[in-house]
């Protein structure tokens, strides 16, 4: 089968700049929320409405994503007095949020509703732990398809992705130290984030000395598991301009873009190449900018490797040079193009991607919630001093990119601009 090389973008590039994220909401990122996912989702959506300055009657569309580990939209809408004209709860984790933002734009464009709240609510530590894939210790019969996976002890995300990570080291000479620097740098960012679950800085040696989970992944190469509710609100640029904060304007979105053989990505092509290789050909032409124009990235860090491989395949560096890119200071606060300034999934908390979008909305507003003092106008007086416990606002952020990860063969992405 021949693959089209000149990919026709599925979203109309003239939607560029027509939609925005107008509100964001989060609970704490904790272990042991002591609450239902309904309570977490309700709090997150309510906070996102408050952040936007909107009332329940202003929200008429809702979307959510989950792995059957959450509460569906009607129960969240019901608690908040929202009457949706449209809603949908989709199955999936990483790579969902950017795809759902695209869907929100589409349903508003279709006249189905005006303003969409998207949420992800999960007790990812105290109830359904994704790392354990809900099957810790349990013995389920092996059927036809699982004989190829569970029958070989191949089940968790780390176990499914490790061959791609290992092959990247083989193909390009990527070193364990380079990879570990992703965690070290994200932990520096998290040390300036009072919300982060892990706020302690760790070194490259700390990562390499942590116990091996599945080679090449040490414990600290893997993200944290937490309980949290997170939400954001998508609406037209005109409505967003009437909201409380400066809008984060959506320039381009790619949703659940796949490598060939999305069922078994390792059957096709070099496995050290990920879905971003295909997604970039939609993302950049639709945004009208390229990777060199981006000020802050949010490259999904389920694992240290996932940030690295995506940054490389989206063109932030040459193919194969991801190891150097993530370890030469570029992705650090104060560097040329910081990545995951909140600490991401490795440190802040695990949400399947939405907290990395929320962080970039804050960066574009110029109002990241670090420890800098709040001025008389309600905005933080940022010091741009990135030492431990200090600032994490990047100067003059005009453009951000989110790179969502589902598997090596599945990715989503979004470019946002300062409103």
């Amino acid at each position: 089968m021949t693959q089209k090389t000149d990919i026709e973008a599925t979203s109309n590039k003239f939607l560029r700049g027509k939609y925005a994220i107008a509100g964001i909401g989060e609970t704490g990122y904790v272990r042991g929320s002591g609450r239902t996912t309904k309570a977490l989702g309700t709090e997150a959506v309510r906070k996102a409405m408050q952040d936007a300055g909107l009332n329940p009657g202003d929200i008429d569309g809702m979307l959510s994503y989950s792995f059957n580990d959450s509460t569906f939209t009607p129960n969240i809408a019901g608690e908040l007095g929202i009457r949706p004209n449209f809603y949908m709860d989709v199955y999936g984790g990483g790579s969902s949020i950017e795809a759902l933002i695209g869907i929100a734009m589409g349903v508003i464009e279709a006249g189905m509703c005006n303003t969409v709240a998207i949420f992800r609510a999960m007790n990812g530590y105290s109830q359904v732990r994704i790392g354990g894939t809900g099957d810790r210790g349990a013995v389920r019969p092996l059927n036809g398809d699982s004989l190829f996976s569970r029958g070989y002890g191949l089940m968790s995300a780390g176990q499914m992705f490790c061959q791609s990570f290992m092959r990247h080291m083989y193909d390009y000479g990527t070193t364990p130290e380079q990879v570990a620097s992703v965690k070290a740098i994200h932990s520096e960012h998290a040390s300036n984030n009072p919300k982060a679950y892990y706020q302690k800085r760790v070194s490259v040696d700390d990562v390499l000395n942590s116990r091996m989970i599945v080679k090449p992944l040490h414990l600290l190469d893997c993200c944290v598991e937490t309980d949290n509710g997170t939400a954001l609100i998508v609406t037209s640029i005109d409505r967003a301009r009437d909201c409380k904060h400066r809008p984060a304007v959506i320039q381009s979105v790619v949703g659940r873009c796949c490598k060939p053989r999305p069922d078994m990505h390792y059957q096709s092509g070099p496995i050290s190449t990920v879905a971003g290789h295909y997604a970039k050909d939609i993302l950049w032409p639709n945004a009208g900018v390229g990777p060199e124009d981006i000020d802050v990235t949010g490259s999904y860090d389920a694992f240290t490797f996932t940030s690295l491989m995506q940054l490389e395949d989206y063109g932030f560096c040459k193919k194969g040079e991801g190891g150097a890119y993530v370890s030469d200071g570029t992705i650090r606060l104060g560097g040329k193009r910081p990545n995951n300034t909140s600490g991401g999934h490795l440190c802040e908390g695990y949400t399947h991607g939405i907290n990395m979008v929320i962080e970039n909305v804050r960066q574009l507003r110029g109002d990241v919630d670090d420890s800098c003092p709040v001025g008389p106008d309600g905005h933080r007086l940022h010091s741009f001093d990135y030492q431990e416990g200090g600032c994490r606002q990047v100067r003059d952020v005009e453009l951000t990119a989110n790179l969502g990860w589902g598997t090596p063969g599945l990715g989503s992405a979004m470019v946002m601009a300062k409103g």
């Binding site: 099957d135 210790g137 059927n143 569970r150 070989y152 176990q159 490790c162 092509g269 496995i271």
Partner: protein
């Protein structure tokens, strides 16, 4: 002959409607590797599917394939998730690329089988055996019998083959 009807304590049951996997594992029970070859484009595929991943043709023919290849990549599990594997750590998650159809249909494509590394009698490899292999090591298929209709395909070092002097391994032991 009696069969254990389970593998590492996990019961095995292939759905009766899953004709493709039942056929694949039936051949495995005869210690024979058979894959589907598309009747239109002639490409082999793994695992068993209901249509051709390369041309969507629904019709295929099962043909014998030599169970030999190299380690294309691997992971080494030290923290098992499933109870069945906890007493077997470390174990290798192999991606074995068969010699058959290597580099087809694209230059970086191939028939890549997931499996574990095992000893020549089908037991999950010891730490000593694991340290002998890496990317490029040559392996051959062997089978662990589970039921009359199902054997699990696994891979062991190919004693007849010339092995690379230094197969690539993760740089930190």
């Amino acid at each position: 002959m009696t069969f254990p009807n389970e593998y590492l304590g996990m019961p095995v049951k292939i759905d009766e409607l899953d004709h493709e996997n039942r056929t694949f594992f039936n051949y495995c029970a005869q210690h024979d590797l058979h894959l589907q070859r598309c009747n239109d484009c002639d490409l082999l595929r793994y695992p068993a599917t209901t249509a051709c991943p390369f041309c969507a043709c629904p019709n295929a023919t099962w043909i014998p394939v030599e169970g030999k290849g190299v380690i294309y990549s691997y992971g080494e599990v030290h923290h098992a998730i499933q109870g069945a594997f906890r007493k077997h750590v470390p174990y290798l998650l192999l991606l074995v690329e068969l010699d058959t159809q290597k580099g087809r249909p694209g230059p970086f494509d191939g028939l890549r089988l997931t499996a574990n590394l095992v000893s020549s009698d089908g037991e999950l490899a010891t730490p000593e055996l694991i340290q002998q292999v890496g990317i490029g090591s040559r392996l051959r298929i062997i089978y662990k019998d589970v039921t009359e209709q199902v054997s699990i395909p696994l891979f062991t070092l190919d004693e007849q083959a010339e092995q690379p002097e230094n197969p690539w391994r993760y740089p930190i032991e």
